[in-house]
């Protein structure tokens, strides 16, 4: 089986299919821990995880925090508005300072694409990208893969439809890379202003009409319409967007009966999803949230394992007792 050797988790684009499958496989092993009366294992005891969210987040932050705590890691939290970044310190300097405090893993969210990769090159601390600009959100991509695998039993050969503001969505990019590597067919759907045409060259199908694309889909991932970007006039009006690209029961009635509906959250109820669909039997949105913890436990566990300082002054590791019997 593949071993995890990367210091960082920056995106799904650079991962091999085997590495993605290893992460999903580990997440499966970690899921049971959250169902125990004592939701804690000592795997990262004595390790420190820093959460550096330099852009607002509730769900991803809470999910990483619980994942780290359930692995017994110690936690350090930084937020954009209360850190020295507002005093003008660069993010690389902040990261070097965190590294100097002997933190093992830094979970980093930033509104500029590429910042986690830049930081990863500058420090020995492991970096987990928790969303950078419109680039990638690898753990959310893994959550979506995990949830599809869990609900559908497979990923290969499925038709997955990603609907909405693909242009600004890092989740859409991570989903696209992960799904494509695991053999799903990905269709991107939305108004032409919000679906980047060059993604067709990477292997995505592009559709501008949801009513035509939805009936073929096995999975639909609705993206959040980023309300704060409304004044940039990507869409004529919310009402038009909702009429054409919002998923309601009427559109769902013409889709496959076993279609599952996903959303990375937070949902704009009545915009991309009608409340009946968001809360309906085909919605797996809350399963995505539950699975998020197991996936992030797997990511922290694997990345922390690869970040050990060179064990030069330690005795040579004993053979794996699982292989020789201890």
């Amino acid at each position: 089986m593949t071993r995890w050797t990367r210091k960082d988790l920056l995106g799904l684009e650079e991962l091999s299919k085997e590495e993605i499958l290893l992460l999903l496989d580990q997440a499966r092993a970690f899921k049971e821990i959250s169902l125990r009366p004592i939701k804690k294992v000592p795997a990262l005891r004595g390790r420190t995880v820093a959460l550096c969210f330099l852009e607002p987040s509730t769900r991803t932050r809470a999910s990483f925090e619980l994942a780290a705590k359930r692995l017994s890691a110690d936690l350090l939290s930084f937020q954009g508005n209360s850190s020295s970044l507002v005093k003008g310190e660069t993010v690389v300097d902040t990261a070097r300072n965190i590294e100097a405090m002997h933190v093992d893993v830094m979970v980093l969210r930033h509104n500029t694409s590429g910042i986690p990769a830049l930081v990863a090159r500058s420090v020995k601390t492991s970096i987990v990208n928790a969303g950078d600009g419109s680039h990638e959100h690898p753990t959310q991509g893994l959550v979506d893969l995990y949830t599809i695998q869990e609900k559908k039993g497979r990923i290969e050969g499925l038709n997955v439809l990603i609907v909405g503001d693909v242009l600004h969505s890092r989740v859409a990019r991570s989903d696209f890379w992960g799904l494509t590597k695991l053999g799903a067919r990905v269709t991107l759907c939305g108004p032409p202003t919000l679906v980047p045409a060059p993604m067709e060259a990477l292997g995505a199908k592009i559709a501008f009409r949801l009513d035509e694309a939805l009936p073929q889909a096995d999975v639909v991932i609705a993206l959040r319409l980023q309300l704060e970007r409304q004044q940039e006039r990507y869409i004529p009006s919310f009402r038009e967007y909702t009429k054409l690209y919002g998923i309601d029961q009427e559109k769902l009635a013409r889709a496959k009966p076993d279609l599952i509906v996903m959303h990375p959250g937070p949902v704009n109820r009545g915009v991309e999803l009608s409340p009946e669909v968001a809360d309906g039997p085909q919605s797996v949105i809350l399963d995505q949230v539950t699975n998020g913890i197991a996936v992030r436990m797997a990511a922290l566990y694997l990345v922390a394992g690869a970040s050990h300082s060179e064990p030069a002054d330690l005795p040579a590791p004993q053979p794996d007792p699982a292989e020789v019997g201890t």
Partner: protein
């Protein structure tokens, strides 16, 4: 790796398991809520075989769980990458049970220490015992098995390989010499 000796063949393993199953049955109080917990991966296979034998002898169903101890290993920080974790599946409440931990080889005792910690996080068993197919010595912790298939003196550098038909296609226990 050169094989130094085959210590148990298929028939040998079968006889040893039959004896251990009888010993476990003999020591249980009549009303005992017995369950077996096998350490992944070969301990789990042995636990399933023992459970079948116990059911045959006592006509009582014995639940079996599978325990992965990876997250409780004391050398996690020393390895070059964190080992793959497998799911722990214990389909019963361990609290109040008489549990027997089952593993293939007892060596340093560190795996058993990890298993005890892992079980303590799942509940409070009434009693905890240990059954192993092979005890090869060289303990590094104060741990002793309650049921031993075969005591096998070994050199520290040798490897004891247990192969089971379910995972390896053959039932045997061999001692292998490590390449110099």
């Amino acid at each position: 790796m050169p094989v130094k000796a085959q210590v148990l063949d298929g028939e040998g393993i079968r006889k040893v398991l039959v004896r251990i199953a009888h010993e476990i049955a003999e020591r249980q109080p009549a009303d005992a809520a017995l369950a077996l917990v096998g350490i992944r991966s070969r301990g789990e296979l042995l636990a399933r075989r023992l459970a079948r034998l116990l059911e045959e002898f006592t006509r009582v169903m014995v639940p079996v769980g599978a325990l992965d101890i990876t997250l409780y290993r004391d050398d996690l920080g020393l390895l070059s990458s964190n080992p793959v974790v497998h799911a722990t599946e214990i389909p019963f409440d361990v609290t109040g049970r008489r549990l027997v931990i089952v593993d293939d080889v007892l060596f340093t005792g560190r795996t058993v220490r990890a298993a005890m910690d892992a079980l303590a996080d799942l509940g409070r068993p009434q009693t905890l015992e240990l059954a192993v197919l092979v005890d090869r010595g060289h303990r590094e912790l104060p741990i002793k098995a309650d049921y031993v298939g075969k005591n096998m003196p070994t050199a520290r550098e040798e490897l004891v390989q247990v192969r089971l038909s379910e995972s390896d296609g053959i039932d045997e226990v061999v001692i292998e010499e490590k390449q110099p």
